[in-house]
Amino acid sequence: MSRQLTRFTGLQRLLHWLMAVCIVAMLFIGIGMVSTTAPRYVPLLETHKTLGAVILLLALLRLGVRLVRGAPPLPASLPPLMRLGAILSHYALYALMIAMPLIGWAMLSAGDYPIVLYGGIRLPAILPQSDTLHTLLRSAHHWLALAFFALILLHLAAALFHALVRRDGVFEAMSPLPSRRGKH
């Protein structure tokens, strides 16, 4: 049997932390812009759309890398319930990373809004105008965003729990810092 990985690869860790910054910024920009009528609404909306497109591309790349390179195994000492939580939450995080930009894109399409990103880059509509679809997608975008943020807080709490309490190497597997053992 080949040597088991103890950490995610450098590319995977880079993608994780880069996307962490993008997604957290994205959720704050989103919830902030829909609650303001200040002039910053216009640049926030443009940034939100642009960052959404970037996150979609990064998420697809990341999914591909994950499928090819896999992930280090969870420690054998992990209780079954925590193991299940870890697996399910990772599926949910991947699903949201990919679905949220697509829902936003589809929602704007269904609202007959031109989709213009930073630098004047235009995306085509992926749906025809539809009141029903716009409403459905607008609600989904809102509630899934709140669920996404809650899941990220849970993910953060779990990561810190692994790092500070269990000290079982799970946090180190995705740590942005080089391994203390000099491996990877």
Binding site: V34, T36, D131, L153, D168
Partner: protein
Amino acid sequence: MVEPPMSPSRSFFASCVLIAVVVAAGAGAFAYTAGWLSPNRLTPAKLVDVLAPPGGPALGYRRNHAKGICFTGVFDSNGKGADLSVAQVFAPGSYPVVGRFNLATPSPNAADATVRVRGLGLQITTPDGGVWRSAMIDPPFFPVATPQAFYELQKASHSKDPEAMKSVVAAHPEIAAFGKWATTTPWTSSYAEDPYNGLNAFLFVDRAGVARAVRWSLRPVAEPVPIAPDELAKRGPNYLEQEITQRVAAAPQRWTMTVTVAESGDVTADPSKAWPAERRIVEVGTLVVQRIEAEADGPCREINFDPTILPKGISVSDDPFPAARSAAYARSYDRRTAEAKHYPRTSGSPKQ
């Protein structure tokens, strides 16, 4: 590689507190950003809610300018705007238009003669994919200087307290000028005889990358014929829609689009202040309205005439209104599309 768990209870407790603090800080920052901790923030929801008449909003309709009729036509650009902006809409040519004549009222059933302000929503599309949307009204300046003042004015206008309006007018003296316009400017009996003004300042960016603050207007080619509001009332509550339908069926109706260029020192952040009359005015083309369609089955109902939807070569300025309008229009659009079942579609409508 699994390190032995360290389990002194003090370290465990401290770790849990630290985790709780980190999570609470994240949740708190999110709640603050969402405005959940700032009840005084002027949110899009507040701005939309305040427009509702006492009986509540008309479900399925725009939250303001609820009464309207669709038109299609073209914008014939004469090329003179091309020195001001690289937007393709100013290159000589003819570009398709979808628009909407409307009355500034939250009630889709308001009688024409009860609504002082009329508007025109416009969308011009160009072959390069550029989309320019604008929502204009017939007064030559806006009643108030800031979105916050607009909110207070709307609130006062629905208030039962007779002092409410007086105190808003006292706090925002610019409203008086609008009152003078509203009471002294003759009414017309046709959408085709009214001017429509963008009022907000935008930036036009030219080939050299130079940005200039501008405001745009549509000036009617048709000669305005004054009419007293009570005379207009006698013609029926929906006369304006009947009139424009017949008029356009008989002949296309035209407006000259003008662009007024600011000079240094002109205030761009306050649409209640008109710029001096001697400013350079460039006639950039003609809006030709060729066909009228009822809103229920027309092509304008689905469009949010958000004034921040601009082609390359036009951008927002420091005028605070386009952003506030964009945020509020989006909320209005979200609500009315969610209420679409309340909107009376005529039979045979292709859209569900």
